[in-house]
Symmetry: C2
Subunit: 385 residues, 2 copies
Amino acid sequence: MSNREEALELHRENPGKISVETSVEINDSEALGLVYTPGVAEPCKEIDEDSRKAYQYTSKGNLVAVVSDGSAVLGLGDIGAEASMPVMEGKANLLKKFGDVDGFPLVIDADGAEDIIETVENVAPTFGAINLEDISAPECFRVEEALKERLDIPVFHDDQHGTAIVVLAALKNALKLVEKSLKDSKIVIVGAGAAGIAVSNFLLEAGAENILPVDSKGVIKTEDENIYKSKLAEKTLASEEQGGLTEAIEGADAVIGLSVAGLISEEMVKSMAEDPIVFALANPDPEILPKNAKKAGAAITATGRSDFNNQVNNSLAFPGIFRGALDVKALEINESMKIAASEAISDFIEPEKNAIVPQTLDKELAREIAGRVSEAARETGVAQE
Amino acid sequence: MSNREEALELHRENPGKISVETSVEINDSEALGLVYTPGVAEPCKEIDEDSRKAYQYTSKGNLVAVVSDGSAVLGLGDIGAEASMPVMEGKANLLKKFGDVDGFPLVIDADGAEDIIETVENVAPTFGAINLEDISAPECFRVEEALKERLDIPVFHDDQHGTAIVVLAALKNALKLVEKSLKDSKIVIVGAGAAGIAVSNFLLEAGAENILPVDSKGVIKTEDENIYKSKLAEKTLASEEQGGLTEAIEGADAVIGLSVAGLISEEMVKSMAEDPIVFALANPDPEILPKNAKKAGAAITATGRSDFNNQVNNSLAFPGIFRGALDVKALEINESMKIAASEAISDFIEPEKNAIVPQTLDKELAREIAGRVSEAARETGVAQE
């Protein structure tokens, strides 16, 4: 059976891969009278008096909505709400398996950013946190900004921040192995969509000083009409450099591909500095295959795929991040919590060239991340307990 | 421990009473590659080509949103979205337990009917059906009408139709025992909210010809500004009668209370026709206690409570109705399906005065209802398989 057929069969046999289960017994009318009317009125009254008690008496505190409008799904593009559902369900599976979080896939047939914002704002009382997913740029930035402002629960766009957290962890370990510093290294970011912009900003925040983001038109520009790009350009080498990817990549210590298959050539890798680091994270097909990057001199390679070494994948981060945020009823997931998550990942292993990040399936990792994220939430005053 | 404390303890120990579980194993990177990227792209592509395949490859086909804005919760009134959550979770519990349906509580912080409509419309691609719950009248009518028109999945306001279905079943069995016909009996409906209006309309549809709905101002009027009341008045005895409940109830064969505690007096019951039927369904405290109604001559009594005989409760109906609708991927829940559900309930037992409806906790009942509802859906052309 081909991989395609195997994937379809798995989804046919377990439609949705999730189920909603009852965690109470209802075997007699007494139990029914507690779970449902009349007993159910008691927790309702408690929450009516003090809305924070929703965490105590309802599933809110462990429920995370995995929200998408299906406008930028995997490498598939704008396939719409219904067709994006399997990805959100997969995400719910990983939240449960690694973080013991009740993730619920909620796909939205929305008419632009404002419509997504209003819908999520309206359903938010149900949930303890919101995971935004596969929403196209630049709408995703507006959606996240508005929801963070309006809601008092964490709102986290995983394509941006999950990716940034794992990339930083992997890059720090890779740089350690080639004995270079984050601060001094020239790092080219290929792709200026949701992930590219978030990774660039997060690396800057972590202390990188020589970032050069490139999009399909070349080095991004300070006068780009997309304000997320123009603002980023001002903070990076893009404020002084121009040209295409070929020029940008020359002399770089690291290149991080968050774009499309095949964009990085062996010639480009050859033009990089000594011991170059090549992360080719486009899914499912990387910007350059690891073996070709190595042939061209790459010291360390990574992809988003599970069938090569060094899988740089969001799933390393998000289950632990949500677990940690929910554990302390965090009001948001702030920069300190993201940095804490990234450090938990990079510190989790003694890195080697073929193992710069932990294994995706290590459940201990999510616990470690959760602990550090909870701690950072408390330290920055966004924990409610 | 008091009932109140017991109910609170149950809700504290099982926060939310539901959990979202993973129905696939993810124990190696191969499995991960099927459940999540890259394998998950395959069902996405299938659904992108043909949206009906969402039923085959996602949880949509067994997922029912239990939606409320918390504006008319039990006897508690407008307590808001967050405080209504325990009721929606209880409903999800019953859907699972009796119908094997994945019910998901979705509470909405909405600003009026239009806002509810838009929010539910936007999230609808996630679900196979929508159960509206505890939304105040008359907004609930507009919400249901609009959503039925806009969506191609069943939309069912349980406070209206679930109640109507169970009341008709109970009333038919009660009338059988006192040897009266639905057609000829004078039936007073006390309360003209969501349930009162829906019960009146459904009884008319089932063949009753002498319905008299009464609200807090007396017999409803053909010139009421609430068009749901004025339209109903025209179809009932209310078009020719007036006065208060005391006058309305005189000579009635049955009275169905869907209002507030204590509204029906012993004197009123005494003024009814021979062998009067008294359904006092206000929750948690009935319009008249069964023992008092009987003292005044009632032949048959019923309440909404589990601690008296003859519990007329929605939970008899909705799990089986949704099961039946989902089983055939019904596009809607139409009048024939509702009548079929009601008949399944009344036919399920050989009625006795203290057992005019089946037991709430009988799982066989939901299966019987589901079968008849599926059949009615097929017969009326709203089944997709």
